[in-house]
């Protein structure tokens, strides 16, 4: 209490001054963050509608904010005159013939105002007009190849929207096939405890997944480019093959006795023109083709989605694994001589399963 | 008409909480006069005093200090009036959140900005000594008895040696010795030509030092006159208030020699601080002051802490 009263003046001074410092610091930090102290270069443009492009909208170029819309106004011809600024650090990119493009995301993530630099030599003049990509002026510039414009962004978004579920479904199918094969392998090795029927059901699931996938892709087929159409065909092929494979092992009641029966036994299934092996292997080959197609498409996406590549790689690894299993089945230790050594390096995550198979 | 009276009330009416506390009161007080406002409880003595001192604002009528209406004073004139007047509250009304020293020092600090801390300290101690309060000045009012608070309240009014003093029931809650001292002080002030307005129901005090008497009944001034007139008033309602006033036989103490050493001390101008220096010189006029200064010096020597913490927590 005494301390408090004795140093009242100092305490109050500290209290007020520290707050003032905090406030001042906050304002300065805020100003720095909101570019109060930077020079911005002013330009103009015209929109058909200011919807999604009001004052404050960020102008993006390859994922970086290079400026923002500062003012929009409805003019006498019912167009929207807009003023915008490009940050001084990006001003050197604003060459002649630069244009803007308003892109609306198909999955409702709002709009983006993209900046595409022109291929002119000189810098665009301060305060000059930057046309919109879908205006007459903008289209002319694009047709003349005066604009450095990446692959049409709206197509990419559409493609991505189509490819994503596709990849996911393909992945699911692979996993299911892989699991089926593992289970078969375990059954053959006499380790299986679960009923073989569930394995078959899983296989059917895989088929219905593939069906859904096909429907999904078909629905978007019109919008997809030709490569995507090829993909759908491949997927259809997998589906058929898988159906055939499933049909081949649809009679689970007979399978186990046959496995145990020395006469009928596994030899019959596997040596019976390698029906099971060929069936499954066939679908896997198709799947591999699909994945290759998907990879081709995604290659054109310029590595924008590294996750696609990862999924594909994983898919391929799984397929290789499946092939191994099949080979193992074919060369069943009861019959022939084990899984041949692969020369290729296996991903490390596979080593556990490997041990199980050997 | 000559010189304007020191204080004049003209048709003052005051409303307090919906009832008339003071009805059309008019009286005037010449410089050096001592007026006793007498009356029973609730007769409006305090209201009369507060209105005359400019603490309460009259609902109608006017209070004039040296011919100037209190309501129409400039802030400078008002400050001068406050500097020249002191008010002793019935219940002392010390500022509870300040030490006694600060209570006493505030008028000096406010009206005498040129005084240094030593001057303020001296004035405060002299006022405290004058009323006979010689205890710790750094205590809070709450630590004091009602009588002690009353003395300190009186000291606060006297710190700047006012020429116009308002005393609301000055002897209330005082013991006999302290009350006696208060009489002495009033007598001394009279002797120095100070104008005093006292509200009291006590006849004894009036008998000793009143020049004029005003009788208040239910907010109305029923009778105003000199003391000698007051003794002869016959109206039974007025008599009920003034009945115990006795005709003066002996010469009042203040008319000739002063009553007691304190009165002597207060009669000396140098008692109240005009300069920080203790008075020096020869002759009887300086003796009391010099003696007091010695006492004060002793007190100061013993208690060096003068300007301790001044708190008002809120």
């Amino acid at each position: 209490m005494r301390f408090r009263m004795r140093y009242a003046d100092k305490l109050v001074g500290l209290f007020v001054v520290a707050a003032a410092l905090f406030l001042a610091g906050g304002i300065i930090f805020l100003g720095a963050n909101q570019r109060w102290f930077s020079k911005d270069i002013r330009f103009e443009t015209r929109f058909q509608s200011a919807a999604g492009a009001g004052a404050g909208t960020a102008i993006m170029m390859r994922g970086f904010q290079v400026g923002k819309v500062t003012k929009v106004k409805l003019n006498d011809r019912n167009e929207v005159d807009a003023e915008l600024v490009i940050y001084d650090t990006y001003y050197p990119k604003v060459k002649e013939y630069s244009i803007l493009e308003l892109v609306t995301s198909p999955i409702g993530l709002g709009t983006q105002l993209l900046f595409h630099p022109g291929k002119g030599e000189a810098l665009a003049q301060v305060g000059s007009f930057l046309p919109l990509a879908d205006s007459e002026q903008g289209k002319d510039l694009i047709d003349q190849g005066l604009v450095e414009i990446p692959v049409k962004d709206d197509t990419i978004t559409r493609l991505l929207a189509g490819v994503n579920p596709l990849i996911e479904n393909a992945n699911k199918t692979i996993v299911t096939i892989n699991r089926t094969l593992t289970e078969i392998n375990r059954a053959l090795a006499g380790q299986s405890t679960g009923p073989l029927g569930s394995i078959v059901n899983d296989a059917s699931d895989a088929v219905s997944h593939a069906d859904a996938m096909v429907a999904d892709v078909s629905a978007q087929a019109t919008a997809l480019v030709t490569k995507a159409n090829a993909l759908v065909d491949s997927v259809n092929a997998i589906t058929k093959n898988l159906e055939a494979t499933t049909a081949a092992i649809r009679d689970p009641t007979g399978l186990v006795p046959r496995l145990l029966d020395a006469k009928g036994s596994i030899k019959t299934i596997l040596d019976d023109k390698n029906a099971l092996y060929d069936g499954i292997n066939g679908s896997i080959a198709e799947l591999q083709k699909t994945l290759k197609n998907v990879q081709d498409i995604s290659a054109s996406l310029n590595g924008q989605m590294p996750s696609i590549a990862m999924t594909i790689d994983e898919g391929r690894a799984a397929i290789k694994q499946a092939e191994d299993v099949l080979t193992g089945l074919k060369n069943n230790p009861l019959l022939k001589g084990g899984i041949p050594a692969r020369v290729e390096q296996q991903p490390q995550s596979m080593s556990m399963r490997e041990g199980q198979f050997r | 008409m000559g010189v304007a009276p020191e204080l004049e009330l003209r048709g003052v009416t005051c409303l307090r909480g919906g009832y008339l506390a003071l009805k059309d009161a008019s009286l005037s007080l010449a410089e050096g006069e001592t007026l006793f406002a007498m009356g029973g409880a609730g007769s409006g003595k305090s209201v009369l005093l507060k209105t005359a001192a400019g603490i309460g604002i009259p609902n109608s009528g006017d209070v004039l200090y040296r011919g100037k209406s209190l309501g129409r004073m400039s802030s400078r004139e008002e400050a001068a009036f406050r500097r020249a007047s002191g008010f002793v509250f019935q219940d002392a009304a010390l500022w509870a959140n300040q030490s006694l020293f600060d209570n006493l020092a505030l008028p000096a600090r406010l009206h005498e900005p040129s005084w240094g801390p030593a001057d303020v300290d001296r004035a405060v101690r002299r006022a405290a000594d004058l009323v006979g309060y010689a205890q710790d000045l750094h205590a809070r009012p709450a630590e004091l008895s009602a009588g002690e608070r009353k003395l300190v309240g009186l000291a606060r009014a006297l710190v700047l040696d006012p020429e116009l003093l308002f005393m609301d029931d000055p002897s209330a809650s005082l013991d006999e010795a302290a009350a006696e001292r208060v009489y002495d002080i009033i007598a001394a002030l009279k002797a120095r030509g100070r104008t005093v307005l006292i509200a009291s129901a006590l006849s004894e005090l009036a008998s000793r030092c009143a020049d004029c008497v005003a009788v208040l009944i239910d907010g109305s001034l029923c009778a105003v006159g000199t003391y000698d007139e007051a003794v002869t008033w016959v109206d039974p309602r007025v008599r009920a208030v003034t009945g115990r006033l006795k005709a003066r036989t002996a010469t009042p103490a203040w008319a000739g020699g002063l009553a007691g050493a304190w009165a002597e001390a207060i009669a000396d101008d140098s008692f109240f601080l005009e300069s920080a220096e203790p008075p020096t010189g020869e002759g009887p006029g300086f003796e009391a002051a010099a003696r007091l200064s010695d006492i004060i010096n002793d007190v100061e020597g013993a208690d060096v802490a003068t300007d301790g913490e001044k708190k008002d927590s809120s």
């Binding site: 209290f15 707050a19 930090f29 | -």
Partner: protein, 259 residues
Amino acid sequence: MLSKIGRAAIDGFDEFLYAMGFFARVLRESFLLLRRGQVGRRVLVNQILFTGIDALAIAAAMALAIGAAINLIGSSLLAEFGQGKLMYTILIIVITRELGPLLTAFVVIARSGTAIATELGGMAVGHEIEAYVAVGVNPISYIAAPRFLGVVISMTVLDVYFNVFGLIGSFVVVQLVHPIAFNEYFRNLFAVLTPGDLLSGVGKSLVFGVIISVVSLYRGFAVERSVTEVPVAGIKAVGSGFMLCILADVVMTSVQYLG
């Protein structure tokens, strides 16, 4: 009946006018106090000490708790919807714009509003205010103005601290549960924060400070002679302080979002 309502309306209006006049005098004396300083400076310092510094702990605790709660919601619930960045907007709206000033005001009303009203009430009952007048001290300039300034300054400063603790302190708290990079947090925060938000927060706390101090001073001075009036003054100061602050908040918020 009608005349009763009429009289009540006239009385209410009179009281309102009186309160406005009182407010104007307090404002004028406060400016004078700021200009000449000294007299009442100690009261001002003590007022800030009591209203501001002593209330800092509770304001900081509230700010920390609210900030941490929003941070946790932002990093779990909102992130689930893919709207993790919305957290910063919510932080700013809640701490800087809306709750910060209002909660600080509630703390100040509860602590200092009652204290001022009851203290002044006690002074009025003890004739201390009259004693000030008698000595020549203007009670508005010596009693009201420093308390007014003290509360207004404390309110504003407390709101700044509320922001500091709500925005920075909560970040520290959340580090224990859900670490976010310091840089990322503050870049995102300051990307959402606008000068308008700061202005709104500081403006609101200023207005609340004015309301709280004037209401409690007014209620305190309204006490006349009875000790029983003192707690009533305290209660009234809290009641009308709350009401007026909420009312002012509604008005200011509507002006900001509609205007």
